[in-house]
């Protein structure tokens, strides 16, 4: 029972973590809460369904399911990255030198726009992700893990490790950290700051879209509103971990998933959505900057 809830929590938490990374990376660089990020995740979930239906109709799914899923995930990530790129260029870049409130309002506007855009083009009712995996799974210690859960945990883990390596080791990753610390100085060293910001949106959107496809497969149902709740949860996870911190977002996401899952089974599932905020308030009282964040007064 406990182990089962931990596995469920890890699954959910991995997804929160993937989405939270996009919030935290953008905040780290622009000090902007990208409210439209949850919508990118939602579009990723829709693309999962649409692309899968397409590949099924051309017969690819029957030939090789793993290949099809790989294609779905990669294409969804590419398309969502293009959305993220475009949103930044159209809605945030023109406001780069405006007051801090303007891009925030713009972000809310983009979020509402994208929700309605999907509702109008895809309909207001739930869409179904076909059940491809049946009830397949394996025994793990004293509990059962479905293949899908295992896949979500492993894929998320691999993506998080890759992201961390990218940010810490590559030239572009180091430039991202430099831009987050001092944009003017970065530009004085020859770093194209606009390009680095675009890359941040592209990477964050890609991660969110993978989360979207995986959640669509996991829950089987998608509607135009799922980005809202997931966005709030993931944002909470990012704040919990210390907004701006990449390890913080990973850790915060997983912690949140575990809290929700354990709270729902041991306390009451009715308040499932409230546990996240109880934990958030608790942690911020003790560490105002979040678990991995710097205390606000130390912020440079």
């Amino acid at each position: 029972m406990l182990l089962q809830q931990i596995i469920n929590g890890l699954t959910l938490g991995s997804v929160y973590a993937l989405i939270a990374l996009g919030y935290t990376m953008v905040y780290g660089i622009l000090e902007l809460i990208n409210f439209a990020h949850g919508e990118i995740y939602m579009i990723g979930a829709y693309l999962g369904i649409i692309l899968l239906a397409f590949f099924t109709s051309v017969g690819l799914t029957a030939v090789s399911l793993p290949l099809t899923l790989l294609l779905v995930v990669v294409l969804a990530a590419l398309i969502c990255s293009a959305y993220g790129f475009t949103v930044e260029k159209l809605a945030y870049k023109p406001l780069r030198n405006a007051s801090r409130l303007s891009p925030l309002i713009s972000a809310i506007g983009v979020s509402i726009f994208l929700q309605n855009y999907v509702m109008l083009t895809q309909g207001a009712t739930d869409k179904v992700f076909p059940s491809l995996f049946g009830s397949g799974g394996f025994r793990f210690l004293s509990t059962r893990v479905s293949y899908l859960q295992a896949a979500i945990i492993v894929v998320s883990g691999v993506m998080m490790v890759s992201l961390q390596a990218f940010v810490m080791k590559t030239k572009t990753g180091k430039a991202m950290r430099a831009v987050a610390q001092d944009k003017t100085m970065a530009s004085l060293l020859g770093i194209n700051v606009d390009k680095v910001i675009s890359i941040t949106f592209v990477v964050g959107s890609g991660l969110a879209s993978v989360a979207g496809v995986m959640v669509a497969a996991y829950y089987g149902l998608v509607n135009y509103f799922i980005g809202y709740i997931a966005g709030i949860k993931a944002f909470t996870a990012a704040v919990l971990g210390g907004i701006g911190s990449i390890p913080g977002a990973m850790f915060g996401g997983i912690l949140l998933g575990l809290v929700e899952s354990l709270g729902a089974s041991y306390i009451s599932s009715e308040y499932k959505d409230a546990y996240a905020f109880v934990v958030l308030i608790g942690i911020l009282l003790v560490r105002p900057g979040g678990l991995f964040g710097k205390a606000p007064e130390e912020k440079i």
Partner: protein, 232 residues
């Protein structure tokens, strides 16, 4: 090599540079002196493209660079170690230097060897976070980082600011050394005496306009300069 013609720069309604003319030839050290708020940093930030002049021309080898974004100006060989050093505190010393090499104008191993030769302490500190360095070490890192791009001209904004006298002379000796090796330097300083002793020529900036210019020797002997900037 670098030429400013009637450059004006404003912050909103405030005009901080009111038509600056300035030239720097290859191999020179030129100092730009002036009191607080005269517009020295504004001048360097305008050359680097962080601020855009409202009118006037900035030519590098005859090309107007005033229209280019900052990273393109660095790519053309103009590097700046800005006021306050602006070390990335949560990047290591080595990573700070790597960022300096971002435009890829030289070979990285060669450039970093060169910087470690000028500032051996940076080699010892290379795995430490930039934010943990002392003020003097940070200034060395700031200059070293600017050199990593293998610039043709180096803009230095108050490299002596806040440093102990021994560190100031250390920094100034290094500036002299890199100049002897061929680097062109535009040196902004409040420490007018030290700057003029080091440089070949100098400009005096007062509330956004150049009021005096000439050989450093002449400026060191000028009565007005003596009174206003050398405290004599």
């Amino acid at each position: 090599m670098l030429k400013l013609e009637a450059v004006r720069t404003r912050y909103g309604p405030i005009e901080a540079l009111r038509g600056i003319d300035l030239t720097i030839s290859k191999g020179e050290i030129v100092s730009l002196i002036g009191s607080n708020g005269a517009g020295k940093s504004t001048c360097l930030m305008t050359i680097s493209g962080v601020l855009k002049p409202s009118s006037g021309r900035i030519e590098l080898h005859g090309e107007d660079i005033a229209v280019l974004p900052p990273h393109r100006i660095v790519e053309r060989g103009v590097s700046q170690a800005p006021e306050g050093r602006r070390i990335f505190p949560r990047l290591t010393v080595k990573e700070n230097l790597e960022m300096g090499a971002f435009p890829g104008r030289g070979s990285f191993p060669e450039q970093i060897e060169n910087v470690f030769r000028l500032f051996p302490i940076l080699k010892e500190r290379s795995r430490q976070y930039g934010g943990t360095l002392s003020g003097g070490e940070q200034q060395m890192l700031a200059i070293g980082r600017a050199l990593m791009a293998r610039p043709e001209i180096l803009l230095l904004d108050e490299p002596s600011l806040g440093l102990a006298p021994i560190m100031v002379s250390r920094i100034f000796r290094t500036i002299e050394e890199i100049n002897r090796e061929g680097m062109t330097v535009l040196l902004v300083e409040q420490n007018a005496r030290a700057a003029l002793r080091l440089s070949h020529r100098g400009y005096v900036l007062e509330s956004g306009a150049i009021t005096l210019q000439g050989s450093s020797e002449a400026l060191l002997g000028n009565e007005k300069v003596k009174q206003a900037y050398l405290g004599e």
